[in-house]
Chain length 357, copies 2
């Protein structure tokens, strides 16, 4: 199978090799050193500022989204949620569940955030903004320059889910004064799913200190305290953390920009090849991570099924209302231009067979 | 290294091989079939009753302990916690955090639960009992016949953390009317850490339906609903679930009793070999999973360090007040009698070198 989904994605040989090895015991100085290096290298790759910290949670991206809502916000906050799809909706649901007062900017699927959308919320007393910088469900990438400017002017605590954007698009905690950055292991970091990473600004770390613990497993205060000695409060996905270690070392060596460049290159190549197909770009502002494509007269879900069953290719289906209309092609993980060619050939075949119309 | 810890433990070749492979995309019929088989095989191996269900959470054992306290108990309950060590204490902390009225039976470290301990709580209106059937921190295994009898008489909802006991000791949901059974991937199941499994009786499933969701990530209602189609609400640790699949198939073939027999055999062999050492058994009622040993005149922590650094052997150190007094030797995972011999030889050497005194 060739995997063009948005995660889990294809992994490099070194990462796979570690996956095949025994898992070491982890309450040791050796593993603490690995975790301290992971924290340092992750913060460097996210361009975090002074006194920033990172937490590694064993869980999905949602576990980190919820840990953030539970343990960096309180009922005293007034939050603004950018809701442009399922993941924006999830942030709204989390605020609702945990009694965080919030309003949401609902965007049409496929449409990016505009300055005029934000203007209505200017100087209205918002204390936090939650955004999925790349709304993975629709492939829309928001403008962080614009969001940052709004947040700085309004002195707003900025929470950015960059789960599918980190290492695919520019992500810079210091430049954009991001307070909480959320990352997942199975996207462009290209290791198995199971770990979510939170990058926390000094301001976030201070805020966490004074917020009541609502969930032991998602408690960031305890995670930060244990992290000081390179440990986690509970048994983590040790193997995945070792794979993250290998990848962060690799990225540290080759440089974040070059890593992003590779994804960008794959995305542009694919987008060029797909121009003349009966498909349109669904998003008006694309991340390098993903190309969301809208079908015209055929079911997107059906295309996913045929590619999987007859061509040994996974693309990424959509759920809910977009299931029949949109599919996504990921550009993250160990993919090559050759893989792009194979996918485009398969799509050409589907045109010929009159499935893709 | 030889790994005698209580997890992560040594894995078999097939499990390691899967760990070294690419992770498949999981929102597919193929993965749903794997998950449905996982649920079926897990419930069979736990001797679950009619209409029981299983949930696979991406997280540590604690994530499942907390999901249980949050989503099977409410403020209307009156819980009784058996607290014989760090994990019993954790159940008490979770009840405290989530406002579940509770009392605890505090046991001396190393001491098992007696009928007289329970008698004081008979017919006092308790609605739930929480127990770590093997209190992993001290190696004490409690008598489930006795606990079951007490629960049945008092019509009590029985929550059993069998994280380190499942597949090492007899665990039978139906016989002991266990309502929630908690299991971890990295113990005798012998796959990497990252997945916790909950076995839920029909009564538990019914109870979950009417309890308010307090945490999206640990929401059992949503997990059960998604599980009906063999899926999870959020991206799970797909790779670990495939490894669990391989192990459950293996256990289904060879039989649970035989699997337990292997652990029992290793435990008995080790316990026989260790008789004449300046060490005493810390627990008055041992699980097959672990032998907790008390040192006499030397530091247990130091023994752990020397075995790790000079003999390439991991045993399991204790934390807190027992750190200098107790270490543990695990018998779960892919260990052999030969491994036992090597550990005992190393310990003999430590006696000779006058470290183990």
């Amino acid at each position: 199978m060739i995997n063009f989904t948005v995660g889990p994605v294809q992994m490099n040989e070194e990462v796979r090799k570690i996956g095949g090895e025994e898992i070491p015991y982890f309450r040791t100085d050796e593993f603490s050193a690995v975790m301290k290096a992971n924290e340092r290298m992750f913060l460097k790759s996210a361009y975090a500022g002074k006194n920033a910290r990172a937490v590694f949670l064993t869980g999905s991206g949602t576990s980190a989204m919820e840990a953030t809502v539970m343990h960096t916000l309180s009922t005293e906050d007034k939050a603004l949620v950018i809701n442009g799809g399922s993941f924006g909706h999830r942030f709204a649901e989390l605020c609702e569940l945990h009694n965080i007062p919030y309003d949401e900017i609902k965007l049409q699927p496929g449409k990016s955030l505009q300055e005029s959308d934000l203007a209505k919320y200017d100087r209205k007393g918002y204390s936090a903004l939650l955004v999925n910088v790349h709304e993975t469900s629709t492939g829309v990438h928001y403008d962080l320059d614009m969001i940052h400017e709004f947040c700085e002017k309004n002195e707003i605590f900025l929470i950015v889910d960059a789960i599918s954007s980190f290492l695919a698009d520019e992500v810079n905690m210091e430049k954009w004064k991001i307070d909480v950055l959320i990352v997942g292991s199975q996207k462009a970091l290209a290791v198995p799913p199971g770990i979510a990473i939170l990058g926390l600004s000094e301001r976030a770390v201070d805020k966490i200190e004074f917020i009541e613990t609502k969930c032991m497993y998602l408690d960031l205060k305890n995670a930060l305290k244990n992290g000081e000695r390179g440990q986690t409060p509970f048994t983590p996905a040790v193997g995945t953390l070792l794979q993250i270690h290998a990848r962060l070392k690799e990225i540290d060596t080759i440089g974040v920009e070059k890593e992003i460049g590779k994804v960008k290159n794959l995305a542009e190549d694919f987008r060029n090849r797909i121009q003349d197909f009966p498909l349109s770009f669904f998003s008006d502002s694309m991340s390098n991570a993903v190309t969301a494509l809208e079908t015209q007269q055929c079911s997107a879900k059906k295309i996913f099924q045929i590619l999987k069953d007859e061509y040994q290719i996974w693309i990424c289906p959509n759920g809910g209302e977009l299931a029949d209309k949109v599919f996504r092609v990921g550009h993250i993980g160990c993919l090559t231009i050759e893989d792009n060619k194979r996918l485009v050939e398969a799509l050409q075949d589907l045109v010929k067979r009159e499935f893709l119309i």
